[in-house]
């Protein structure tokens, strides 16, 4: 028997939460298109495209930065998935020397704040000529996305296990073909989530990109922050809106691309649970 009263309270809490999440986004939207929004109005007094125009002004070279930024984070995401899948496979299906160490290493970055690591590796990167380079930035981003990628792929690999691959072997498929035709299609849900997660983490990074990228490698995030710190709210909101939309775009594209792949698993038995 359902306890109606408590369910109603929970529902109220749920909707308040949704409100708290949505309202700031709406406000952001409003500010983006605001010309004037004086105190104490609850809605902007006048609207305009000024902020948008300024953001896209030729001298800001926005598209360039945005595009290269998206590519960088996408590269991080794809690398993260590949490395995550490889590592998860090794940890789940094999026994080898140093297995515990690798398992620990996979989650270690969660215990080292990005600032601490970035300041520690900075000099090393300078010596290795990796500072101020795209490769350097990709590397540090990768270090912080891998714990999530490995964890996601590990759960999935564990639930699929080696059983189906074993069956494929005895039916005549080489290890490589077994992986491509049997395991990989079943890993797709995890791959999709991994890419999304890694992209979000990478594109949202500020401090480590700033430090390791120096002035040379600018992601959109780095470009955006000064407008949030100071400067007018409309401009900052415009940048933030563009950031969010570009992220959503990548997530939608990832989703569509993985849906188009042949062999959709049924989702039921092999549903991955991120936990």
């Amino acid at each position: 028997m359902k306890n109606f009263k408590s369910n109603r309270l929970l529902n109220i809490f749920l909707y308040i939460s949704l409100l708290i999440i949505s309202v700031p986004i709406v406000i952001l939207l409003l500010w983006t298109f605001t010309a004037r929004w004086p105190w104490p109005n609850l809605l902007p007094k006048t609207y305009s495209f000024r902020a948008i125009k300024e953001v896209f002004a030729p001298h800001a070279k926005l598209f360039q930065t945005l595009f290269s930024s998206m590519l960088l984070s996408l590269a991080v995401a794809i690398l993260s998935v590949i490395i995550g899948t490889m590592t998860a496979r090794a940890l789940t299906l094999y026994d080898f020397v140093g297995k515990e160490l690798i398992a620990l290493l996979s989650i270690a970055p969660n215990l080292v704040p990005g600032t601490v690591f970035a300041m520690g590796i900075h000099i090393v990167f300078i010596h290795m000529a990796l500072a101020d380079t795209v490769l350097g930035v990709i590397t540090v981003h990768l270090i912080y996305t891998l714990p999530y990628s490995v964890s996601i792929m590990r759960d999935l690999t564990q639930s699929i296990g080696g059983r189906l691959e074993m069956q494929a072997y005895v039916l005549g498929a080489s290890p490589f073909k077994s992986f491509i035709y049997i395991t990989l299609p079943l890993l797709v849900p995890g791959i999709k989530t991994s890419i999304g997660m890694a992209y979000i983490i990478s594109s949202g990074q500020y401090f480590i990109t700033l430090l390791i990228g120096g002035g040379k490698v600018k992601t959109f995030s780095v470009l955006m922050v000064p407008f949030i710190a100071k400067g007018d709210r409309a401009l900052g909101s415009a940048y933030a809106l563009i950031f969010m939309m570009s992220t959503l775009l990548i997530l939608i594209i990832t989703d569509r691309v993985t849906k188009k792949l042949p062999y959709q698993n049924d989702g039921g038995k092999y549903r991955w649970n991120w936990n």
């Binding site: 059983r163 189906l164 074993m166 069956q167 494929a168 072997y169 005895v170 039916l171 005549g172 498929a173 080489s174 290890p175 073909k177 077994s178 035709y181 049997i182 299609p185 079943l186 062999y263 959709q264 698993n265 049924d266 039921g268 038995k269 092999y270």
Partner: protein, 343 residues
């Protein structure tokens, strides 16, 4: 293709699972690996298929040692207990997967898949999705898929144990039918003695990683080599005694039997005891249990602690509390040499 195992030993997680297994299966023969859970049957299958490496010994297929051949090239196909159909493929795609690996073109694959579906009596199911099928149907798809791989040896790992009894009998018939048609050397792993007895040309009885006895079903049933094998097929009462000059002598009875002189245990199975109602009989019927076509009678000896069991037809007039005398059917007595009691 004939299969031979020479001195196979396998250790897993520091435990010795298989100990010096020697086995020879003739071309086209159907044998069972019979034994309780944990005796190493499935491990042996996986070793034959190349999924597990043996510590010692060799696997010989058609006269060639295949130890170095990778699993996917051995043509030793396993149908696993959990069937392992590929969830992201249709029935036809599952069945034609091995054909794809053999390089056959799309049309040829589909044709063969449909052909095999007909053989397993699932015509029309080509494009069904695997998750929509019943247990019995999935079994047959798994079998069809295994056949598509054109196996030299077919390895069935307790494939029928999850089925209810009617489905199981259907599957057993189907497997035998196809095995005879394609003349594939087949090894069935099972813990069900009835299954082994009805289906196999020979049974290899396994216990603790070793083969205790490898013989025809009749011989294993009538002439078990030790008590472990004997008890697996049916329980009974043991009577200790000696055989001297072809005569078995014990406290309970004596009998002429053509065996070597020595100490023996005589196993008296319920089917070896005939019952006669008798007013002052030596035994009293303690319990009468219905079994369908027959009754199981539990008999207690009136003078000693001896307890026996007997099987009587269902039209019997005997009831609990009756006094009876027993008569031993000499042909159904089983004599096991005392030395080989346990491994």
């Amino acid at each position: 293709m004939e299969l031979e195992l020479r001195n196979i030993s396998v250790t897993l997680s520091n435990k010795k699972i298989l100990k010096f297994i020697n086995l020879k299966v003739e071309d086209g023969e159907f044998i069972s690996l019979l034994g309780a859970s944990g005796c190493g049957k499935s491990t042996l299958l996986k070793t034959i298929a190349g999924l597990i490496d043996q510590d010692e010994g060799s696997v010989v297929l058609g006269g060639n040692i295949i130890d170095k051949t990778p699993a996917h090239k051995r043509r030793t196909v396993i149908v696993f207990q959990d069937l392992r159909l590929f969830p992201h493929m249709t029935v036809a795609e599952n069945i034609s997967f091995p054909l794809k690996m053999l390089g056959i073109d799309k049309n040829g694959r589909r044709k063969e898949a449909i052909n095999l579906l007909g053989k397993v009596k699932l015509k029309g199911y080509e494009d069904m999705h695997v998750d929509k099928m019943s247990g019995g149907q999935i079994q047959r798809v798994a079998l069809a898929r295994a056949l598509a791989a054109k196996p030299m040896v077919l390895l069935l790992d307790e494939s029928f144990s999850s089925l209810d009894i009617n489905l199981r009998k259907d599957m057993q018939e189907l497997v035998l039918e196809l095995q005879r048609e394609y003349k594939i050397t087949t090894i069935l792993v099972t813990h069900d003695q009835e299954e082994a007895l009805t289906m196999s040309n020979r049974i290899a009885f396994m216990h603790n990683g070793q083969i205790e006895q490898y013989d025809t079903p009749e011989n294993i049933f009538k002439k078990p080599i030790n008590t472990i094998v004997a008890d697996y097929f049916s329980k009974g009462t043991y009577v200790h005694g000696k055989i001297i000059n072809n005569k078995f002598i014990s406290r309970l009875f004596s009998s002429n039997v053509d065996r070597e002189t020595g100490k023996y245990k005589c196993l008296i199975r319920p089917s070896a005891i005939k019952i006669n109602k008798f007013k002052n009989g030596e035994y009293i019927v303690a319990e009468k249990i219905y079994q369908g076509d027959s009754y199981l009678l539990k008999l207690n000896n009136t003078d000693s602690n001896l307890k026996l069991e007997s099987v009587v037809p269902d039209f019997t007039a005997i009831i609990e509390g009756d006094r009876v005398n027993i008569e031993l059917d000499k042909d159904k007595l089983i004599f096991i040499p005392e030395k080989q009691a346990c491994s």
